[in-house]
């Protein structure tokens, strides 16, 4: 039984490599066989070597740092705002009546369209990018919090109320905790969205950051340097996703593993 399970895991891991190889091998053959000029498609080996070499370059690390700072600032604000508004919208009928139609109007709006307005009002620096990340990451977190909090078992709240907890305290000690799995699912979506949005904002208008590296390399046709920021953001996203999974596994100890 165990051997079968092991073999299955190995087969599945191997199967996962196949599509990645299906992209990497033709890429390598096309560039190594000089079927395509390297100015259009550099060899994957060159890109990888360049990526590893840049990891020791202070200018590159500075750009990564700037991007990470904007990402975390925006994501942090979005989590605080989203959870607070989501919980309050469930706990208070007036807040709920105001928030629901607002979310319905604002959630499908392409937030990137607000970026020029944010640049005009908040300036060229960090704040406009952070504000865009907040605008984009807020809604998945808010909606997940709202849906999670709205479906909390009412018996939990009744018991806490019967034990003498005030309604406001109930909201934060019972509802918030019971909605945690749903909130974390929303936050994970928000995290990936933050990754994407911060990069795009830097591509459209910025003086530093990973996105700007890509645009700058594109203007001078440094094709190898164009691939490096894309790989960097992919690695960053995977790493953040992994870290987040570890964190949420730790936070969700004691919850039944529904999904």
């Amino acid at each position: 039984m165990n051997a079968i399970a092991l073999r299955r895991t190995v087969t599945e891991a191997l199967a996962g490599v196949v599509p990645v190889l299906c992209i990497l091998v033709p890429w390598y053959i096309l560039s190594a066989g000089h079927f395509v000029p390297p100015a259009l498609l550099p060899s994957p080996v060159d890109v990888f070597v360049r990526f590893v070499r840049l990891l020791g370059d202070p200018a590159f690390l500075h750009n990564v740092g700037v991007t990470l700072f904007r990402l975390f600032a925006g994501f942090g604000i979005a989590v605080v705002l989203g959870v607070a508004i989501g919980i309050l919208a469930v706990g208070n009928r007036v807040v709920g009546a105001v928030v629901k139609p607002l979310v319905r109007v604002l959630a499908p709006l392409p937030k990137i369209a607000l970026y020029p307005a944010l640049v005009l009002t908040l300036g060229f620096d960090h704040s406009s990018k952070v504000a865009l990340v907040v605008a984009d990451a807020l809604f998945p977190i808010l909606l997940a919090t709202y849906q999670g909090a709205a479906s909390v078992d009412p018996k939990l709240v009744w018991s806490a109320r019967a034990a003498g907890t005030s309604p406001t305290r109930c909201l934060f000690t019972v509802v918030l905790m019971a909605a945690l799995p749903s909130i974390l699912t929303g936050a994970r979506i928000g995290l990936v969205i933050s990754c994407i949005v911060v990069f795009l904002a830097e591509m459209i208008m910025s003086t530093d950051g990973l996105g700007q590296m890509l645009v700058k390399a594109g203007r001078t046709f440094q094709t190898v340097d164009m691939f490096v920021p894309i790989i960097a953001i992919s690695v960053l996203g995977l790493a953040l996703n992994g870290l987040f999974n570890l964190l949420s596994a730790r936070l969700l100890i004691g919850f039944s593993t529904r999904s």
Binding site: T11, A15, L102, V103, A113, A117, P140, L200, V215, N241
Partner: protein, 260 residues
């Protein structure tokens, strides 16, 4: 009064008016340069919407978006369904999608432009990439949870694998696929605007940034309103289609959330 409040469409309308009022109060209170009062922006709307060149740009953008969206659904849905029904296929494609997921699709624009030029093809390809992921994901999730007994019954009655896929898995997964398509539609709009912001040539993003470069701030805000309304109308229209197609399933009550 209370019944009038729950007319469909009225609360969102009130929300829009509320937003405009907040915007107006904000401009009066702070008088920031670069933030015109909403009336000034709204006054630009008829001018933009009757200008044939602007309309052609908007139509070109919408055409690209529609082509990219349809191609992506046609491509991603079968892959998602197949992944949902076969563990091996799921294990094969999952890592690839995991790697692609955090990459902003519009960021591939400069590279794709090198290969395909600045024309239609590269923008459609970027929209296609952006829409594919959520459609694959939701078809996969939906197909995974199809009731096994239905498949066994069909197999016992002699329906072949292709027939089972087409006549059982596809209809059973349709509500979930629709959720994916809705996210995909919002993403198509976002990717379209973003790709045009990065490769300015034609389209909505182009009008937008030309106005910004010329410091016609009223036009910038008018374009934001147009894009916002476009997003809302697309979402509303899709919701109507979805309700007609899968009226038999419980509505999932989700609001589309988009990202690039």
């Amino acid at each position: 009064m209370s019944r009038a409040l729950w007319l469909p469409g009225l609360p969102p309308l009130l929300a829009c008016i509320g937003l405009l009022v907040v915007w107006d109060v904000f401009t009066r209170a702070f008088a920031i340069e670069g933030l015109p009062p909403p009336l000034e922006a709204l006054r630009q709307l008829p001018g933009i919407l009757t200008d044939p060149e602007a309309l052609l740009n908007i139509a070109a953008s919408l055409k690209r978006m529609a082509i990219g969206f349809v191609l992506a659904v046609a491509f991603a849905m079968p892959i998602g369904l197949w992944m949902g029904r076969s563990r091996l296929i799921a294990a094969a494609f999952n890592p690839l999608f995991m790697v692609i997921y955090p990459v902003p699709k519009a960021a591939l624009m400069p590279i794709i432009m090198l290969w395909l030029g600045v024309g239609e093809a590269s923008k459609i390809l970027v929209i296609f990439l952006g829409v594919s992921l959520p459609v694959v994901y939701h078809s996969f999730q939906g197909a995974r949870t199809v009731e096994e007994k239905m498949l066994w019954s069909a197999a016992a009655m002699g329906v072949g694998p292709a027939g089972r896929m087409l006549r059982i898995v596809l209809p059973a997964t349709l509500p979930e696929i629709m959720v994916g398509c809705r996210t995909g539609l919002v993403l198509a709009l976002i990717t379209m605007v973003t790709s045009e912001m990065i490769a300015r040539q034609t389209g909505i993003g182009n009008i937008f940034f030309t106005a910004l470069d010329m410091a016609q701030y009223n036009d910038v805000y008018a374009m934001i309103i147009i894009i916002g309304v476009l997003g809302f109308v697309c979402d509303f229209a899709f919701e109507a289609v979805r309700r007609w197609l899968v009226s038999w399933a419980d509505s999932p009550h989700t609001i589309a959330v988009g990202s690039a």
